[in-house]
Symmetry: C2
Subunit: 212 residues, 2 copies
DNA sequence: TACAGTTGATTGACTGATCAATCAATAAAA
DNA sequence: TTTTATTGATTGATCAGTCAATCAACTGTA
């Protein structure tokens, strides 16, 4: 029962089905049939709209990146101080939907795909650069540029590392504990540059609440 | 020209060929033909010795883990103080051959495979646990158990994160800089617990040499 | 020493399954 | 009628896994 104007709907449904299928399966080894079944259409239709499997995959990564971007943008609006902006960036990374096993699995799979596909690699590099530049913007208001670069690299590595460890589900560490770890790192790195007029916060141990 | 006693040689050659092929290709999507060609034998022989592709892959992961283990053991012998042991652990993780793009790609691919294969997952969990327990052993001699656990988690995440970022070749960060970042993190986390009789080392900023 | 039989090593050729991609056909909407 | 949506059927390629056959090295043993 073909209605007109289905194209955008089908594209969206197929991309979402791809993400779901990859997440469930935990790898990019998903067939067009599986994706199409998940989307409730025939495999032929997926080809009709996307031309090839590779293009459907790329569209899916794009949508993942777009979601992350809008999350980040909305998390950063109305947040003024550099330190609060840093916390907002961290919070977005460990938001429930970003940290869900399915999403983590999909990200991981795309990292692997980046080894082979120049296009996928370019997209992921864009993500890495955006994270880095978001962190740098705020950090450079809090410390000298050299230190800002170093700290940004460290925070980014810690975020990515907590992600990959989440994928194994071995380390008993949830999103709350992950955020705390990253925040602690940031606090500790920034301590030497703290304005002296700020009160308190000079306890030797920076670990606050922990666990989840 | 079949000589007798080839089995161990062939097994070894096939495992090494698997590692090389995965590293070059950047994913586990390698065919038995490619692996066999790389090892200089026929695909049938690979099946003869390993039974299935999956078993060959598992054997390959085992060998990767074994290499890491012997590296770690030899790096830790004759190293006495807890702090030096921590540095040794970090050094092993970023050793040239462990940090080589090919090896990183293989590790990444195995993380993805762990999503699907319970056996692969178990093996990687063993690696994660071993790293964690190595770190914990030394850390608990330097600070209270709660803090040791927290710091171990952070160091492990940072190591894994620097690994995954290395795979994208986007962040211009080499093995030396990676080690420095991790060491800095450790220094900063351990500072509150430093014995007061230790001299010097009280500069506000812990970043020493940097870059690479 | 010669030689028949056994065992391990190795492969080419084949099979069966899977899957991406194509295409011609159908059906509704404009 | 033209356009858009949709699919079943099919094709061609790829691959893991199997199998029977070959070849060389050992093991008696007469």
């Amino acid at each position: 029962m073909p209605r007109i104007g289905m194209e955008p709907l089908r594209r969206k449904a197929l991309v979402e089905a791809t993400l779901r299928t990859i997440g469930q399966q935990g790898s990019l080894d998903v067939t067009m049939s599986e994706i199409a079944r998940e989307a409730g259409v025939s495999p032929a239709l997926a080809h009709h709209y996307f031309g090839s499997k590779q293009q459907l995959l790329v569209a899916t990564i794009r949508s993942l990146l777009a979601r992350l971007r809008t999350d980040a943008v909305s998390a950063l609006e109305n947040v003024e101080t550099p330190r609060e902006r840093l916390s907002a960036i961290i919070r977005v990374s460990f938001q429930a939907d970003q940290f869900a096993p399915e999403t983590v699995a999909a990200w991981l799979a795309f990292y692997v795909e980046a080894q082979r596909s120049e296009e996928v690699r370019r997209l992921l590099v864009i993500y890495a650069r955006r994270l880095r530049s978001n962190l740098l913007d705020s950090l450079e208001r809090l410390c000298p540029p050299d230190d800002a670069a170093r700290i940004a690299e460290g925070v980014a590595a810690m975020i990515d590392g907590l992600y990959i460890r989440q994928s194994l589900r071995s380390a008993p560490i949830g999103s709350t504990a992950s955020m705390t770890l990253t925040e602690d790192y940031l606090d500790l790195q920034l301590r030497p540059f703290l304005r002296q007029d700020a009160p308190g916060t000079l306890a030797p141990n920076s670990s606050h609440r922990r666990g989840e």
